[in-house]
């Protein structure tokens, strides 16, 4: 049975709480950028993409690459809730000798398609996966989730040109546009605007949406692919730290992890009982 928007909202709240908890337990950074992409992941895994935890290596599965590897806590929590591995295993996140490093390693847990962490790698690799699908005449889609700061990497635009040149129309790039990067506002460091015009100039179809509007995410990610020969860029306007009021749009949460008291406050805001 297809998930309703209200189901997806509940999943988003649950996943946000899981990653607040593991960030507290493991004392890890990058929580703000993890929270900003949760709705994108939920829409992708529960509605837009064809990904089955019972068949993680199925040749025709859709592929999601989280190119902003620093937000992998969000992916781990998503994969756990989706059923790739038990949610209890999230307790091993960033523990010495564990399988879930602070940025993903190759094959670290089921469901992680590619190890990332150094920015600007996901889109070229995703383009390669999409090209393989095209050559083999398979229908799978490849979705690459990137950060806005990541779009400063030249390799992103090399891949953008390549994907348009070779009409990789099963490739989607979602920019989690939370307007912050490590040390400040992305607009004040290396402005991306006009970002939509940039993607269009590179030969992509580009949709600009509210990255926390699950219905819009499901619609754009689920229905636009393959309508023309162009790859699809989705600029998802998001809020860093989304879902927990005292973390929202505050770049300190690129660095700090929540206290036990803050975890309790976050649980109340996320309606976790």
């Amino acid at each position: 049975m297809a998930a309703t928007i209200s189901d997806l909202e509940e999943l988003s709240r649950r996943i946000r709480f899981e990653l607040v908890k593991i960030s507290h337990r493991a004392k890890t950074a990058h929580l703000g950028g993890a929270l900003s992409c949760v709705d994108i992941l939920v829409a992708a895994y529960w509605a837009a993409l064809n990904i089955d935890p019972a068949a993680p290596f199925a040749p025709d599965r859709d592929r999601l690459i989280l190119s902003k590897g620093h937000a992998v806590s969000a992916l781990y929590a998503t994969l756990a809730v989706k059923g790739f591995f038990p949610v209890s295993e999230l307790e091993t996140y960033n523990q010495n000798g564990g399988h879930m490093p602070e940025q993903p390693s190759p094959g670290c847990v089921l469901g992680v398609e590619w190890a990332t962490g150094s920015l600007g790698h996901g889109l070229p690799v995703g383009a390669g996966m999409a090209l393989a699908g095209k050559i083999k005449k398979r229908d799978y889609r490849v979705l690459v989730v990137m950060s806005d700061g990541e779009c400063e990497e030249g390799s992103v635009w090399e891949a953008a040109m390549f994907a348009a040149q070779h009409r990789l129309n099963k490739l989607m790039a979602v920019v989690d546009f939370n307007k912050w990067q490590a040390t400040g506002r992305s607009r004040e460091i290396l402005a991306l605007d006009p970002l939509k015009a940039k993607w269009e100039a590179f030969g992509w179809h580009c949709h600009e949406i509210n990255g926390h509007d699950l219905a819009a995410l499901v619609d754009v990610m689920g229905t636009t692919v393959g309508r023309s020969e162009r790859p699809i860029a989705i600029i998802a306007h998001t809020i860093k730290g989304k879902g927990v009021s005292f973390m929202e749009d505050d770049n300190n949460w690129h660095y700090r992890s929540p206290t036990a008291e803050e975890v309790v406050k976050a649980a109340a805001e996320l309606k976790i009982t």
């Binding site: 390693s105 190759p106 398609e113 590619w114 190890a115 962490g117 150094s118 600007g120 790698h121 889109l123 070229p124 690799v125 995703g126 383009a127 390669g128 996966m129 999409a130 090209l131 393989a132 699908g133 050559i135 083999k136 030249g154 390799s155 090399e158 891949a159 040109m161 390549f162 040149q165 070779h166």
Partner: protein, 320 residues
């Protein structure tokens, strides 16, 4: 060497449907025959090498065995991080081919020289580094490389290099090929300087110093079995390569040597020095400046042999 590469990759692509050739807008007409036969497995990725390596990794993760071809500095150091993260960290079967290595494009200036590439790629975990010595070894190395399950770097010259072998040798990665037997001196060569090493050996033979030449077509993994025997058998061993003496074959052997208990042979390295070339000059000119000539190698090695023979063996063992 590049013609041998083009011919071999075309033949291999006919037998192996997983092979797919990516290139960085180089090799005018070099791959015409390949493209004619396998147009769906040929992609000119343009002047965008970082993307080419990433695309290759994505293809490899999806069942292909990509081969990425362009001029050496752009195939290697330009996109070193993509090679490190996307190819080596993920340990995917991708062959990176650097063409015009070393000083092959000497006259184009130091941007087109590659005397550091072996040093940088061989430290990457899981990466195998192949430096064939003649066009037939290029073919043998490529045949071996397509059997690998992980990343391989294949470092080749340009065109017109003479053939040393009579036929394509059966290349086993990590096992050198002795191309000339000798008893006093051994020259370990990696890459397209093989004819220089052979000519130096001939000159040493003429001086009464019997010289062996081994083609180290594999720099990593190093053929330690051969080295162990050679350092016990010969008086002088010298590495020859069109690469910096830092980090290439010479550097690799020096590292290995530093952990051996005691050996008979003295070791020397011939390669490029720790500097860029700033003046105009073709390959022969720059080789001459750097002492990468048969005459210089023969002179330096014969001098070392004479000095070595003057040192009593009992004194050597007392100090070792």
């Amino acid at each position: 060497m590049r013609d041998a590469f083009a011919k071999e990759i075309t033949e291999l692509a006919g037998k192996n449907p997983r092979l797919i050739l990516l290139m960085g807008d180089i090799g005018n007409h070099l791959f015409d025959r390949y493209r004619e036969l396998y147009s769906d497995r040929f992609y000119n990725c343009g002047v965008a090498e970082a993307n080419m390596i990433g695309v290759a990794a994505g293809l490899a993760a999806s069942g292909f065995h990509p081969v990425c071809y362009t001029i050496t500095p752009f195939a290697t150091t330009r996109c070193l991080e993509q090679i490190r993260v996307d190819l080596c960290y993920h340990h995917v079967p991708v062959i990176v081919v650097g063409t015009g290595s070393g000083l092959s494009y000497a006259s184009l200036g130091a941007t087109h020289h590659s005397c550091e590439d072996v040093a940088m790629l061989r430290v990457l975990p899981g990466m195998k580094v192949l430096c064939p010595g003649d066009p037939l070894e290029v073919r043998g190395c490529l045949r071996a490389a397509v059997q690998e399950q992980g990343p391989v770097y294949l470092r080749i010259g340009k065109k017109g290099e003479p053939s040393v072998h009579q036929q394509v040798p059966n290349v086993e990665i990590g096992k050198c090929i002795v191309v000339k037997k000798g008893t006093s001196v051994c020259l370990l060569n990696s890459g397209h300087t093989l004819p220089i090493a052979l000519e130096a050996a001939a000159q040493l033979d003429d001086l009464g110093i019997s010289t062996e030449v081994a083609s180290f077509h594999t720099v990593k993994p190093l053929d330690q079995d051969y080295l162990r025997n050679a350092f016990d058998a010969f008086q002088v061993i010298a590495s020859v390569e069109e690469h910096s003496t830092l980090g290439g074959l010479g550097g690799s052997v020096a590292e290995w040597l530093s952990e051996q208990e005691s050996v008979k042979a003295r070791f020397m390295r011939f390669g490029t020095p720790d500097e860029f070339v700033h003046l105009a000059g073709d390959q022969a000119y720059v080789r001459d400046c750097f002492g990468l000539t048969p005459e210089n190698i023969a002179a330096k090695v014969s001098g070392k042999v004479r000095r070595h023979l003057q040192t009593p063996l009992n004194k050597l063992s007392a100090t070792s």
